[in-house]
C-alpha cells in the first residue's frame, strides 16, 4: 500500500550510506564494512518504519517497506561502487575528487585487493553480496518493528522508577569500579594489549554511573552514605590508574573546570559565548609569560625572577576577569545570535594576537618550559598530580557554582536568561549581572588555562583555536545546560571517549556537528539536565513562540 514511504526512506538511507562511503568508512573499517552498513540499514528501517502514534501500518506493508529500503540503498551503493570501480580500472584517480575513494575503498566493499581493483577484476560477486546483505538487513529491520509494539518503551521507563531499578542504579558504579579493579589483578587477561584502554573505559563508566547514582539517591542517610563512598573511591582513583589513564583524566578535569565556567555564562545567564577559549588562552599565556624562563618578561626583567604556579594563578585569574569585563562592556546591549558572533570574533582576535605579536608571545613558537605546580615540596608536574589538582579545582569551582546558583545573583542570571526585558522591569541591574556572569566564567576559564599551561609545559597559539570553544560548548550542551553533573558527563563523553575510540577520532568533529543537531532536535535539555531546564524544554515551553522574535 504505502510503498511511497519505503521509496522515500530508501533514498534517505542511500544518501546516508553514500555519505559514509565518501567519508571513507570502508577505508577505516576494512572488510567488516558491509556488516556495518547492513547493521545501519537495519537500524534505519527500524527507526523509519516504527509505529508512530496515530499511524498504523499493516504487517505486510512494513516488511515490504523494509525490503524496499534495503533494495534501494543496496542497488544505489552497488551502482556507485560499480561506477567508481570501472573508473579506477581505467586508471582514473577518483581520489582527486573524493579523497577517500581510493582503490582500497572499492576493494573493502567488494572483498577484492587493491591490485585486483586496478586490474578490473570481476566485482559483481562482491556487489551482489552488498545488495543481498542490505536487502536482508532492511527486511530484518522492517520485521523487527513488529516486535516493538507500544508497551515496550513504557516498560523500560518504569524500570528506572521501581525500587529494584533504584538499587541497580546505585550498585552500577561499584560494579564498574570492581571491573576496573579486576583488570589490576594479576593473571586476569581482559582486553589483552589494550588493557589500559579497557581500564579507562571502566573508569569513565564508573564516574558516569556515579553521577546517575548520586542523582537517584534519596535525600537523607542514603545520599550521605553513597556520596561518601563514591567520593572515597574517586579520591583513591588516581593512585590506581596508570600514566596514560591519568593523562586522559587530567585533560577531562581541565575541561570540567572550563565547562563549569561556560555553564555559568551560557547555562545560567543565557549569554551564548563562542569565544570562551579567549579566557582560557589568556589564563594560560599570562601564567606562561610570567613563569617560563625564556618568555619576553623574564628575559627583559631578570630581576623579577618569575612566579610559581600558586602566585601566578591569581594573576592569571585576574587577567581573565579583566578581559572578561572588557569583552562584556561592548556586548552588553547585544542578545543571542549577535553576541555569539561577536564573541567568536573576539576569540579569534585573541588567538591572532598570540600568533602575530611575535616579540611578546613568541608567535607560532609558543611559550616553552612552563614550570609545574609544587605543593609542600611535592612536584605535581605529572599526570597524576595534575589530575588531583584538577579534581580540587573542579570541586572548588563546582561548589562556587552551586552557591552562586542558589544566590540572589544566580536567580538574577536565570531571570536574565528567561526574559531580559522582564528581568529589567523587575529592577535587576542588567549591566552588573551580565558583567558578573562574564567575569565569573572568565575567571574559571583562566584558572583552567593556568592548569593547562603547566600540564602541557609548552603552549602554542594553536592550542587555543575556535575548536576548543566548540568542544566546551558541545560538552555542556550534551551534558545538559545548567547542570553540574552534566558538565562532568559531557567532558567524559567529548574529551575522554575519543581517546578510547582512536579510530573514530578522525570523525570526531563530524560526529560532534551531527550530534549537536540531533541533540537539539531530540533532546535539547541534554543527557543529565537540570530539573528547571527539563521542565522548560519538555513542558509547554516548546510549543510556544519565543517572545523575543515577535
Amino acid at each position: 500500500m504505502r510503498s511511497k514511504d519505503g521509496i522515500r526512506f530508501g533514498l534517505i538511507t542511500f544518501g546516508i550510506i553514500l555519505y559514509l562511503d565518501l567519508l571513507g568508512l570502508p577505508l577505516t573499517s576494512g572488510n567488516s564494512v558491509t556488516v556495518i552498513f547492513a547493521f545501519l540499514i537495519g537500524l534505519f528501517s527500524l527507526l523509519f518504519l516504527r509505529n508512530r502514534p496515530g499511524q498504523t501500518r499493516t504487517r505486510s506493508s512494513t516488511i515490504v517497506n523494509g525490503l524496499l529500503i534495503g533494495a534501494i540503498s543496496g542497488v544505489g551503493l552497488m551502482s556507485v561502487t560499480y561506477f567508481f570501480a570501472s573508473l579506477q580500472a581505467d586508471g582514473v584517480r577518483v581520489n582527486q575528487v573524493f579523497a577517500q575513494i581510493l582503490p582500497e575503498n572499492t576493494g573493502a566493499l567488494t572483498g577484492l585487493s587493491k591490485a585486483q581493483v586496478l586490474d578490473g577484476a570481476n566485482i559483481w560477486p562482491g556487489l551482489f553480496k552488498i545488495g543481498l546483505a542490505f536487502m536482508l538487513a532492511g527486511f530484518l529491520g522492517g520485521s523487527a518493528t513488529l516486535l516493538f509494539t507500544e508497551g515496550t518503551g513504557g516498560r523500560v521507563q518504569r524500570l528506572g522508577g521501581s525500587s529494584v531499578g533504584h538499587y541497580v542504579v546505585l550498585a552500577l558504579p561499584l560494579l564498574f569500579f570492581g571491573l576496573f579493579m579486576l583488570l589490576k589483578v594479576e593473571g586476569v587477561q581482559l582486553g589483552g594489549a589494550d588493557e589500559n584502554i579497557l581500564g579507562l573505559l571502566f573508569v569513565f563508566l564508573f564516574i558516569s554511573a556515579s553521577l546517575f547514582a548520586f542523582r537517584d539517591t534519596r535525600p537523607g542517610i542514603e545520599r550521605k552514605v553513597i556520596s561518601l563512598l563514591l567520593l572515597a573511591l574517586i579520591i583513591i582513583l588516581p593512585q590506581l590508574t596508570d600514566l596514560f589513564q591519568n593523562a586522559v583524566l587530567s585533560a577531562v578535569v581541565i575541561f570540567v573546570v572550563m565547562g563549569l565556567g561556560l555553564n555559568i555564562v551560557v547555562g545560567y545567564a543565557g549569554l551564548l559565548d563562542l569565544g570562551y577559549v579567549a579566557f582560557f588562552g589568556i589564563g594560560a599565556y599570562t601564567f606562561g609569560l610570567l613563569s617560563a624562563p625564556e618568555s619576553y618578561i623574564l628575559v627583559n626583567l631578570p630581576a623579577f625572577g618569575g612566579v610559581t604556579f600558586w602566585s601566578g594563578l591569581p594573576i592569571a585569574i585576574l587577567a581573565g576577569v579583566i578581559t572578561g569585563v572588557l569583552l562584556g562592556i561592548p556586548v552588553l546591549r547585544m542578545r543571542g545570535d549577535y553576541l555569539a558572533i561577536v564573541t567568536l570574533g573576539f576569540g579569534e582576535i585573541i588567538r591572532l594576537l598570540f600568533l602575530n605579536l611575535r616579540d611578546y608571545t613568541g608567535g607560532p613558537g609558543g611559550v616553552l618550559n612552563i614550570p609545574a605546580p609544587i605543593v609542600f615540596g611535592i612536584d605535581l608536574g605529572n599526570p597524576k598530580g595534575i589530575f588531583y589538582l584538577g579534581m580540587i579545582f573542579s570541586s572548588i569551582v563546582a561548589f562556587v557554582t552551586i552557591r552562586l546558583r542558589d544566590s540572589r545573583l544566580g536567580r538574577s542570571w536565570i531571570a536574565l536568561r528567561e526574559d531580559e526585558d522582564v528581568a529589567q522591569a523587575m529592577g535587576l541591574n542588567l549591566v552588573v549581572i551580565k558583567l558578573l556572569a562574564f567575569a565569573t566564567g572568565a575567571a574559571f576559564a583562566a584558572a583552567a588555562g593556568a592548569l593547562y599551561a603547566s600540564r602541557q609545559v609548552n603552549i602554542f597559539p594553536d592550542n587555543f583555536t575556535l575548536l576548543v570553544s566548540i568542544d566546551v560548548l558541545s560538552l555542556i550542551i550534551i551534558g545538559g545546560l545548567g547542570s553540574i553533573e552534566g558538565v562532568i558527563l559531557g567532558s567524559i563523553a567529548l574529551i575522554g571517549l575519543p581517546e578510547i575510540l582512536r579510530s573514530v577520532n578522525e570523525y570526531r568533529i563530524v560526529a560532534f556537528g551531527a550530534l549537536l543537531v540531533v541533540m537539539m532536535i531530540l533532546r535539547p535539555e541534554g543527557l543529565l539536565p537540570s530539573a528547571r531546564r527539563q521542565r522548560e524544554l519538555r513542558g509547554e515551553g516548546i510549543a510556544e513562540q519565543p517572545t523575543s522574535s515577535e
Binding site: 555519505y19 565518501l22 567519508l23 571513507g24 581520489n95 575528487v97 573524493f98 579523497a99 577517500q100 551560557v266 543565557g270 551564548l272 563562542l274 561592548p330 556586548v331 546591549r333 547585544m334 542578545r335 543571542g336 545570535d337 549577535y338 555569539a340 558572533i341 561577536v342 567568536l344 570574533g345 573576539f346 579569534e348 582576535i349 591572532l352 602575530n356 566548540i470 560548548l473 558541545s474 550542551i477 578522525e506 570523525y507 568533529i509 563530524v510 560532534f512 556537528g513 551531527a514 550530534l515 549537536l516 543537531v517 541533540m519 537539539m520 532536535i521 535539547p524 522548560e536 524544554l537 515551553g541 516548546i542 510549543a543 510556544e544 513562540q545 519565543p546 523575543s548 522574535s549
Partner: protein, 363 residues
C-alpha cells in the same frame, strides 16, 4: 513626611531617562575618542609611508571586487534573518560547497577543453560552472533547512543557533574528509585571465575582477526583481511580516521558507565560485571566515535589509582592502579589522547603516 507617590514615580522615570541619556553621551564620547584615534593614526601613517594614488585606486578596486563576493553571501544571511530571525551559522559552509562544486565542474570542462575553445563556448562553460555551484548550494541549503532548522522553528532561540553551529562544523569537516586536506586550486579559464590597464594611469584591472563585479550586480538585480516583483517574493515579504497571518492568507509558510533558503544558497553558491576564481584556492574551511565577514557586512548594512547587505558588503570589502595600509599594519591583521568593524558597529549602531530602529529590539 510622606512623598506623593505620583511625584516619586515621575522622579524614577526621569531618573531612568537620565541614565539612558548618560549612557548615550558616554557611548558618543567613546565613539568620538575612537574616531579621533583612528584619524590620527591614519594621518601619522600617511606621512610615514607615501603610497601612490595608483596604489590606493588599486586597493579600492580590489575592495569592490571582494565586496561583490561578500554581498552575495551577505544577502543569504539577510534573507534568512528577515524571515526567521535566526542567523544561519552554516551559511559560509553552503558557500564553500558551492565553491567545491564549481571547482570540479571547472576541472571537468578544462579536461574537455571547453574553456580553451571559442569565446562563446568558454563563456558558456563559466556560466555552467556558476550554475553548478548554485545547484549544489541550493541542495545543501534546502537539506539544511529541512533537517537542522525546520524541526526547531518554535524552540527557544538558542536551540536553532546551536543546531546551526553543529551543522556548520558537520559540513566543514565532512568536506575535509570527502575532498581531502590538500587545497584545490582553481585554474582560471583564459577568457577571464589577465586584465586591462586603464589608459596611462597605471591602474590595472583584472578581468576576473570585472567579471565578478558584473555577475554579482546582475545577481543582485535578479534578486531584487524576485523579491519585489514576483508572486513568491510577495509571499516572502508577507511571511517576514507575520507568519500566522500569511498562513491565513493561504501562503504555504514552509515552502516560502524553503524557497528563501534556496534563494540565499544560490547566491552563496555563486559567491563561492567567484571566491574561488578570485582567491584561486578552495579548502574545507574556506567558507568560514568569508561567512563571518559576510555576516559582518549584513550587520553593517542592517541585518534583514537587502540593500543594506549590499552596501555593507561593499563598504566592508573596501575597508578591508584599505585598512591594513591606512593603519600601517601587516596584512595579517585584515581579519582583525573586519571583526573590529563588527564590534564597533554593534556598539554604536546595532541597527546597522540602513536598518530600522526596531532592529535594536530584535538584536
Amino acid at each position: 513626611m510622606k512623598k506623593n507617590p505620583e511625584q516619586a514615580s515621575t522622579k524614577r522615570t526621569l531618573g531612568a531617562l537620565n541614565r539612558r541619556i548618560q549612557s548615550r553621551i558616554l557611548i558618543t564620547a567613546f565613539g568620538i575618542i575612537v574616531s579621533i584615534l583612528l584619524v590620527w593614526r591614519i594621518l601619522v601613517v600617511a606621512q610615514e609611508t607615501a603610497y601612490t594614488p595608483q596604489y590606493w585606486a588599486f586597493q579600492v578596486i580590489n575592495g569592490l571586487i571582494l565586496g561583490g563576493v561578500y554581498a552575495l553571501v551577505a544577502l543569504g544571511y539577510t534573507l534568512v534573518y528577515g524571515i526567521l530571525f535566526m542567523i544561519n551559522f552554516a551559511h559560509g559552509e553552503v558557500m564553500m560547497i558551492g565553491g567545491f562544486a564549481g571547482f570540479f565542474t571547472l576541472q571537468l570542462f578544462t579536461t574537455l577543453g571547453w574553456t580553451k575553445g571559442s569565446p562563446v563556448v568558454a563563456a558558456l562553460a563559466i556560466l555552467l560552472v556558476i550554475i553548478a555551484g548554485m545547484i549544489a548550494s541550493i541542495l545543501i541549503g534546502i537539506t539544511l533547512e529541512r533537517i537542522a532548522y525546520r524541526p526547531l522553528r518554535t524552540a527557544p532561540r538558542l536551540v536553532p543557533l546551536i543546531s546551526a553551529i553543529g551543522a556548520s562544523f558537520f559540513l566543514q569537516y565532512s568536506a575535509l574528509r570527502i575532498f581531502g586536506v590538500t587545497p584545490h586550486n582553481y585554474r582560471k579559464p583564459d577568457i577571464i585571465a589577465g586584465g586591462w590597464s586603464i589608459g596611462d594611469t597605471g591602474i590595472f584591472v583584472t578581468r576576473t575582477g570585472v567579471f565578478i563585479l558584473v555577475i554579482s550586480i546582475l545577481m543582485m538585480i535578479g534578486l531584487f526583481i524576485i523579491v519585489q516583483r514576483s508572486k513568491m517574493g510577495r509571499a516572502m515579504r508577507a511571511v517576514a511580516e507575520d507568519k500566522e497571518t500569511a498562513a491565513l492568507m493561504g501562503i504555504n509558510v514552509d515552502s516560502v521558507i524553503a524557497f528563501t533558503f534556496a534563494l540565499g544558497s544560490a547566491l552563496a553558491g555563486a559567491g563561492g565560485v567567484m571566491f574561488g576564481l578570485h582567491n584561486t584556492v578552495m579548502r574545507f574551511n574556506t567558507g568560514f571566515i568569508p561567512g563571518l565577514k559576510a555576516f559582518t557586512a549584513a550587520v553593517l548594512g542592517g541585518i534583514g535589509n537587502i540593500p543594506g547587505a549590499m552596501l555593507g558588503a561593499v563598504l566592508l570589502g573596501v575597508f578591508e582592502a584599505l585598512g591594513p595600509s591606512a593603519l600601517g599594519l601587516p596584512t595579517e591583521y585584515k581579519d582583525l579589522i573586519a571583526f573590529s568593524i563588527l564590534v564597533l558597529v554593534l556598539i554604536f549602531r546595532p541597527m546597522g547603516l540602513l536598518g530600522e530602529v526596531l532592529a535594536e529590539e530584535k538584536a
